[in-house]
């Protein structure tokens, strides 16, 4: 180092240029050329390198992002925050997994954890937002709950990271805060100038609080909206649908777009007091009557012979899908849209149960009952739903009957959760688990005690019958998520490996014990999770 002379200013640039070209071609100014030049260059470069590094200074701060809005929700209890980190660490594709084994599938518990945390109104720990957003990115079913929990800081983050753009799309207003319904000017401006998604979000938000205000807002621009937008906007009226929506919907029945007309008609038919419902009642009533000339009273059906313009205007779709008779197609739509309340008067003052029990002439039974099922669901009529569901223990409830399992599941959803659970419990007690999956899906979580007991008993019977547990993996998975953790104690006896029966499948007993262990482990974990979230 003692040999170097002071390099000229801008020395570093000169050194780099000389180094690139080689001292054989170019000697840096201030250094002696010749055999010693490379070493002199290295000496000078070493001094400059250390000088440059030692002289490093901070740069100018760039434009700072607007800080994320403050999350005013209370912070998660520490144990719950740790649990969330653990649930999120269990990402799919990180190896292992599968349905076997006794350890719980943590990712499956995340939706429930999020629902509980949201119900308790906790704020998400900020440092977990990236993993939470990554998880929601991979699983669309998780998004609504995950984003609600993640709160405004997640949308703030999503604006900085394109991987999380979905959070902006999924959040009302694309992350910009919606004006409050009282902010008339802000609402008007967003409604008139906003992007489509923002306008839908605005309309839904207002509809949730003040149904009439939303309808009036929609009416201000209705005539100028595009057909597909009108359809989406109209759909938002489903929330808080009431009698005072009728004039608006009646007017939409004359819409240029057929889809808009059909949606308006559907909404009107869900209002049993509406003029459309009354018109449908007349039309449907004309098709159904009781024939007293038979041995016992029998329903006879005379399906409409044509689909007139009045029917079309009220939303009846004239063209039948291929494979269906036109007349039965029209008939089904009329009965579906007619208020259920007209039938007792029309059919001899009978109760719904008595009506459903009446024989139906000429193979019209399935068509008629299916239409009543759709009407009961649309009009949320529990009385009719109960009648159509029938008794769960009836032999035909388990197999193909007038009412399919899918329709039963929809009918069940109109009943209160306790009644629903009781019906499904009785169904399982009679028919076992093989048909019950769909019905279990509409039951409230955690399962009510009688339902849980029925499922566990049925699993126990299936085990004794000697089949493998994976024939019931769907129900097992549901049970892990839905069984009340308080039931864990009742399962203790099932965790032991039973003696192998003669007609049992080889090894089944061990697999059942494993499956029940897994069930118990998961239930315990759920109980702990609930405790951590402050649920007693």
């Amino acid at each position: 180092m003692d040999k170097i002379s002071a390099p000229v200013p801008d020395a570093w640039e000169e050194l780099v240029t000389s180094a690139l070209l080689g001292t054989a071609r170019r000697t840096p100014p201030g250094l002696a050329p010749g055999a010693e030049a490379p070493v002199a260059l290295l000496d000078a470069a070493a001094v400059e390198t250390v000088r440059r590094r030692a002289g490093l200074r901070p740069t100018r701060a760039a434009q700072r992002p607007q800080p994320a809005p403050e999350d005013t929700r209370p912070p998660l209890p520490a144990a719950a925050a740790r649990r969330l980190a653990m649930l999120l660490a269990d990402r799919p594709g990180t190896g292992g997994g599968g349905r076997r084994g006794t350890a719980p599938d943590l990712m499956e518990l995340l939706p429930q954890w999020l629902a509980t945390a949201n119900a308790r109104g906790y704020a998400a720990p900020p440092q977990l937002l990236p993993v939470l957003l990554d998880a929601a990115r991979g699983r669309t079913d998780l998004r609504p709950a995950a984003l609600a929990f993640a709160g405004s800081r997640a949308t703030w983050l999503a604006r900085l990271n394109p991987d999380w753009r979905f959070a902006l799309r999924a959040t009302p207003g694309g992350g910009t805060a919606l004006p409050s319904p009282q902010d008339t000017e802000g609402v008007r401006r967003l409604w008139e100038e906003g992007l489509f998604a923002e306008r839908v979000a605005l309309l839904s938000a207002i509809r949730a609080g003040e149904p009439a205000a939303a309808r009036e807002l929609l009416a201000t621009t209705w005539a100028t909206e595009r057909a597909e937008d009108r359809l989406m906007f109209l759909d938002s009226l489903r929330t808080g649908l009431g009698a005072d929506d009728e004039p608006f919907l009646e007017q939409a029945l004359a819409d240029r777009s057929r889809n808009v007309r059909a949606t308006a008609a559907e909404l009107l038919s869900a209002l049993p007091g509406s003029a459309l419902a009354a018109r449908m009642a007349v039309r449907a009533g004309a098709c159904v009557a009781v024939d007293h000339t038979q041995d016992r009273p029998t329903i006879v059906v005379e399906a409409p012979h044509e689909c007139d313009s009045g029917m079309e205007r009220d939303g009846v779709v004239a063209k039948a899908p291929s494979g269906r008779g036109e007349r039965s197609w029209w008939f089904g739509q009329l009965v579906e849209a007619a208020p259920l309340g007209v039938w007792p008067g029309r059919l001899g003052g009978r109760t719904p149960e008595e009506i459903v029990a009446l024989p139906v002439a000429d193979d019209w039974r399935n068509e008629l009952h299916a239409a009543w099922c759709r009407a009961a669901v649309r009009q949320r009529d529990a009385g009719w739903a109960r009648a159509l569901l029938g008794t769960p223990a009836a032999p035909e409830a388990g197999g193909p009957g007038a009412v399919s399992l899918a329709e039963r599941a929809r009918l069940l959803s109109t009943l209160g959760s306790a009644e629903r659970a009781e019906w499904v419990a009785a169904f399982i007690a009679t028919h076992g688990l093989s048909e019950a999956f769909q019905l279990l899906g509409v039951c409230g979580v955690p399962w009510a005690a009688p339902l849980g007991r029925a499922v566990v008993d049925a699993l126990n019977i299936a085990r004794d019958a000697g089949s493998y547990p994976w024939s019931f993996s769907g129900v097992m998975g549901l049970a892990e998520r839905c069984l009340d953790p308080a039931e864990a104690g009742r399962l203790e006896g099932l965790m032991a490996v039973p003696d192998e029966g003669e007609d049992a499948s080889p090894g089944a007993g061990g697999y059942w014990a494993e499956a029940f262990q897994r069930l118990v482990t998961t239930l315990r974990l759920r109980a702990t999770m609930a405790q951590e979230l402050g649920v007693e």
């Binding site: 701060a61 434009q63 660490a89 292992g96 440092q127 990236p130 703030w156 983050l157 262990q517």
Partner: protein
């Protein structure tokens, strides 16, 4: 202090896992289901029986109070260390008192703990006696050291020749010459028993393909190797401290013979880097009384986690001694007086301006230093085009984040934690930028590891 009072967090437990598969498997076992007879003692022992696929449950026991982080014993056949059962049990313990209640230690756990503590005691006494007796023949050791010095001198001289040839022909040629030339030179330095030089030379090989500005970086690194060569060749004329630094940069072994500093050491960061042969773990400590920062290095064979594990947010009362060299931060962990326990203590911080100055000053003692450990107070992560920086909450200064920090998931943890508000950030600050390793939210809240 009892173990029951302060439990580790799940993050701290998961930081012990040797790989992500173990982390996942351990998480699943961190629930009460498969465990029976789990318990813990005030002395820092946690035990439990875990139901596996066999008829006999595995016996798992952990000594959390061990000086070098937890020690584990499990009767399962896994060769991973710690195994998933140990991780699961620790998670259960971290979860709360309910699942792992305090109680008397069962015999099978007690036996292992006793055996361990006894062996550790014997080792300490034997170690003390051994070092007093000195190691082998000092004359032979001196001759070995001299022979090695001669070989290193030959290697350094050869490397100087190669660097001079490179500069004479021009760096532009290095782009075509490719990696092979550097690999060969690095192998020559290994033969010369100068592993530090070998590693630096190997790094030169990657620079020409490292993107825009590579000639500058190549010249810088060549110049620093030249500086190191020259330092070695004239080591007799250097002040003692700088000579030690040169020796350690060349790769000569040294022992941590600095005075033992007893302090309450806060674990600021722990992270691993791995190549095909070796996993290196770096643990940054901050002495809460002395204000000193120390670096503990530990190594694991390929694919295995190093044994020393001190998760972020713990504090341990221990002695630490520095390795030779001025401004040397590397230290060895000595005697430990209390087991690591979680703490809410945070290190004091500086501004970005002060952090940059600190790096500059540290280069006086060690010009080959890439970065220094610093805690930044009240900084905000700010996007700057494709880059990120940490900007002072008050004032206009900012430190750019290093390229490696930008590609880590920890960046987003940091951004999320900040939310545009000031945070406290510990990291490594140097000529490549700032690499954040740990952050603390402005209000109350635990340390968040970013690495």
């Amino acid at each position: 202090m009892t173990q029951q009072g302060v439990r580790w967090t799940a993050d701290q437990v998961l930081a012990l896992a040797p790989d992500s598969a173990s982390r996942k498997a351990g998480s699943k076992l961190g629930a009460a289901g498969p465990w029976s007879e789990a318990g813990s003692s005030d002395e820092g022992t946690v035990w439990g029986l875990c139901k596996g696929s066999g008829s006999k449950p595995y016996q798992t026991v952990i000594d959390i109070a061990d000086a070098a982080g937890p020690a584990y014993k499990c009767s399962c056949p896994s060769r991973k260390f710690p195994c998933k059962h140990a991780l699961g049990l620790l998670l259960l313990w971290a979860g709360g008192e309910g699942a792992v209640p305090p109680g008397p230690t069962p015999d099978w756990a007690e036996q292992w703990i006793e055996g361990r503590r006894q062996r550790a005691q014997e080792k300490r006494t034997a170690g003390a006696a051994g070092s007093a007796a000195g190691s082998g023949d000092p004359e032979a050791a001196r001759r070995r050291a001299e022979r090695r010095a001669v070989r290193i001198t030959a290697g350094a001289t050869e490397l100087e020749q190669r660097l001079a040839d490179l500069l004479r022909g021009g760096l532009a040629g290095a782009e075509q010459a490719g990696y092979g030339m550097w690999e060969e030179t690095a192998a020559r330095m290994v033969d010369a028993q100068a592993p530090g030089l070998a590693a630096r030379v190997r790094e030169l090989g990657v620079i020409p393909s490292s993107g825009p500005g590579w000639p500058v970086r190549l010249l810088e690194e060549c110049a620093l190797i030249h500086l190191l060569d020259q330092g070695w060749l004239r080591r007799e004329r250097l002040p003692d401290g700088l000579a030690s630094t040169v020796r350690s940069r060349i790769g000569l072994p040294a022992s941590a013979d600095g005075p033992a500093i007893r302090d309450r050491w806060l674990v600021l960061a722990q992270y691993d880097t791995a190549d095909a042969r070796l996993t290196t773990r770096r643990i940054w400590l901050h002495g809460t009384d002395s204000g000193r920062t120390a670096l503990l290095l530990s190594y694991g064979a390929a694919g295995r986690a190093p044994e020393l594990a001190l998760p972020v947010g713990l504090e341990l009362e221990a002695e630490v001694s520095a390795y030779p060299g001025t401004g040397q931060l590397r230290a060895a962990l000595g005697e430990q007086f209390a087991p690591p326990t979680p703490t809410a203590t945070r290190p004091p911080g500086v501004t970005t301006e002060q952090a940059a100055a600190r790096y500059g000053e540290a280069l006086r003692d060690d010009p080959w230093l890439d970065s220094v450990p610093v805690t930044l107070d009240r900084v905000i992560p700010v996007p700057d085009g494709d880059f990120w920086q940490l900007a002072d909450a008050e004032g206009d200064s900012a430190l750019p984040l290093s390229a490696s920090a930008r590609s880590r998931p920890g960046l987003w943890r940091l951004v999320a934690l900040s939310g545009g508000a000031p945070v406290k950030v510990f990291g490594e600050c140097g000529h490549r930028g700032f690499t954040p390793l740990t952050a603390w939210p402005e209000g109350a809240g635990e340390a968040v590891p970013l690495c």
